[in-house]
Amino acid sequence: MQGLDGRFRVLESLSDELRWRPATDVVWTHYHDSDDWVVFHAQSGDVYLVTSAAHTLWTLIADGSPPTLNQLIPALAEALKRTPDDELAAATRDTLGFMDRAGLVRPIPL
């Protein structure tokens, strides 16, 4: 039941208009021998290996006022020097979903 609740919450939370904020109890680590980042979520004790694009997305959420998915896609495109096309939009949505499930970001209730 808890799993179902979680699934519904994620589906709902990925609504384009929902605003996002970063989790506060995370630690990011980066080394200069690769682009990957490692992030520690203190509340769960879990560790994740993520791409630099995912880290950039999290940084965009953490900087400034809480953005929506619709605001994040062009901002990420600009940060990565890419075109804000459907592929980037889908990847942004997937990554945001992953970070929500991992507890790295949280939706702000409407």
């Binding site: 680590t29 021998d33 879990d46």
Partner: protein, 297 residues
């Protein structure tokens, strides 16, 4: 003149205190298997009759008929029974396994990572892997090549200094590794061979005297190697991205998450300061040569 009585004479009554690296372990047992195990494999460790310690371990026989018919060894750690009773002939090994449980779960001063650690010239080589990856075999072979045995089971990282604390104990060898290591030195002392509850043959190898005497000498982490034994494969020792090494190290840590961000940052810093490699091997002589070359450079 008669020699003084062995402190192990108190094992079945008030118990004995064994000094193991930073830990004082109180152990009590009425089973001859534990007495023999300590007598053979812990002969070089400071042992004294007495009570109290960081960990309190009792390995005791089941009462009644079980004392004679299919005897059992019950492990009691700090007053709790974390394991089901073991067959009586595993009593000595049961002491060793309960120590693993204690260090992994009840030593919050350090970040404990599942790893074999060896030292040379103050620098530590960390072999971190899941069970069955061949780290103890490599560890034993490197010890026989002159490396100091720092620990066969745990890398204990001090989160304040980032340095490693030694915990030399008997090396646990399984299955084919037993013959491989036995064949490399006639002088090494081994405990009696047994079969564990998963059906694997095992034996414990006595740690070298020099390693036991230097059990208070810390070391600086220098190399992290993530080994994997793979039958008939050529040796492959390759640099690995530190982010990947960190993920593997945290995966093998017992308690970093209990220490929160400090524990994670401690492992992350150790990885930052170390040269990190993955290792696939089947030929022990070849891998020893390669490791010597990497650590000498």
């Amino acid at each position: 003149m008669s020699s003084p009585p062995s402190p192990l004479a108190a094992l079945a009554t008030r118990g004995v205190q064994v000094s193991l690296g930073p830990f004082l372990v109180h152990v009590r047992s009425d089973l001859p298997g534990v007495h023999d195990y300590l007598h053979h494999l812990y002969a070089d460790f400071p042992v004294a009759a007495g009570e109290g310690g960081h960990f309190d371990i009792a390995v005791v026989a089941s009462p009644g008929l079980r004392r004679w018919i299919r005897p059992q060894a019950n492990v009691i750690v700090n007053g709790e029974r974390p394991f089901l009773p073991l067959p009586g002939n595993l009593a000595g090994a049961g002491f060793e396994w309960s120590l693993n449980w204690c260090v992994g779960n009840q030593a919050p001063r350090w970040v404990a990572v599942h790893a074999a650690v060896l030292e040379r010239d103050g620098r530590a080589l960390i072999l971190s892997a899941e069970s069955g990856a061949g780290k103890s075999t490599l560890c034993a072979a490197l010890v026989l090549k002159g490396w100091r045995l720092f620990s066969d089971e745990f890398a204990l990282i001090d989160p304040d200094s980032g340095r490693l604390t030694p915990l030399p104990r008997p090396i646990s060898l399984k299955n084919a590794s037993i013959e491989i290591i036995r064949g490399r030195s006639a002088d090494v002392v081994f405990g009696s061979e047994g079969v564990d509850i998963e059906g694997a043959r095992f034996v414990h190898m006595k740690p070298p005297l020099d390693s036991v005497r230097r059990a208070r000498e810390e070391a600086t982490p220098a190399w992290v190697v993530l080994p994997r034994w793979a039958a008939s494969r050529p040796t492959k020792l390759e640099p690995v991205a530190k982010a990947h090494a960190l993920l593997r190290m945290t995966d093998q840590s017992f308690n970093y998450n209990h220490l929160g961000a400090k524990g994670f940052e401690c492992v992350a810093e150790l990885v930052r300061r170390s040269e990190c490699c993955t290792l696939e091997y089947s030929d022990l002589d070849d891998v020893l040569t390669r490791l010597e070359s990497v650590t000498a450079s």
